[in-house]
Amino acid sequence: MLFEVFIRSQHGVAHKHVGSLHAPDAALALDNARDVYTRRNEGTSIWVVPSSAITAGSPDDKQPLFEPAQSKIYRHPGFFPVPPEVKNL
């Protein structure tokens, strides 16, 4: 069974996907993840998730999913010019 592995590299940051591995069950997947992905003290916490539990967006849908945000540049603060005299904005 394939598992995706997520590691929290240091306290305070979110778990990040680091790769995947095979294991017969979740408990062994955790053990294996420790050996495969944290041999050099890379983590403070591990999550394993069965790969089959992940629903991924299709690459074909990239355009309808993400293109609408491209034209909405006003969502970025830089869209609004701030006069140089104005501070702390």
Partner: protein, 308 residues
Amino acid sequence: MESATVGFDQRIAAGVKIEPRDEMPEAYRKTLIRQISQHAHSEIVGQLPEGNWISRAPTLQRKAILLAKVQDEAGHGLYLYCAAETLGVARSELVADLLSGKAKYSSIFNYPTLSWADIGAIGWLVDGAAILNQIPLCRCSYGPYARAMVRICKEESFHQRQGFDILLKLCRGTTAQKDMAQDALNRWWWPSLMMFGPPDEQSSHSAQSMAWKIKLISNDGLRQKFIDQTVPQADFLGLRVPDDHLRWNEETGHYEYGPINWEEFQQVIRGNGPCNRDRLETRRRAHQQGAWVREALDAHAQKQTARG
């Protein structure tokens, strides 16, 4: 249990983040649920005063911008509800507490938006105050809350700037437009100062929350910072801050300001602000009217599962 608390205190002291599965005192968990859910409710109810002007924004671009901002507030509410849920409370309970009136949200959203300039004032002042409150929370002791705050702060910057931009436009416009901006400042200034909460000596939860690092700067400290950075911005706009006692103190390097009407604050918190009833009724109606959508989504999901 005692040793667990000692470990907890040491972690807090060392600046190590507390994560959902770590042991934590029950009071810490409860306080965080209250704080994070109040914050989430504020984001959700905060959509209402601004939503009032979406259909009447002066240009199509301003309308698109305001829509995007209100959409962000909904997103912020969702990040925060999820952070609260990591503490073992159900979303449905939190929403029920908001709708029943049991839970609180920021009192500022119980004031009405009477003119387009109010949309500018909310972005500039209300979001400006929120940013000052939220930036320290990016360093708070609870991991999921701190991480939600990082994301929110990034997005808030757009909110504050679009508000200032609205007011700048009005202040460079006709006399009537500038008067409208002044009127908005007159109405929003004091409620914005109240957003930081009661004076430190009257703030009931402050000491414990600061010890737990879920509050990092005192109410009065943040309020002073807000005034110090906002008054020069008002000067630039050519607007008058409605405080006869306001004056720059050369020695302290801070503005002195007049007394805040805390009785008004208490009244609004108790439900007697200008819009409290309207805000809750609107939320309840929206929840009721959306019930069929939630039911349909559940029915669809069940059908899909049954089909395999």
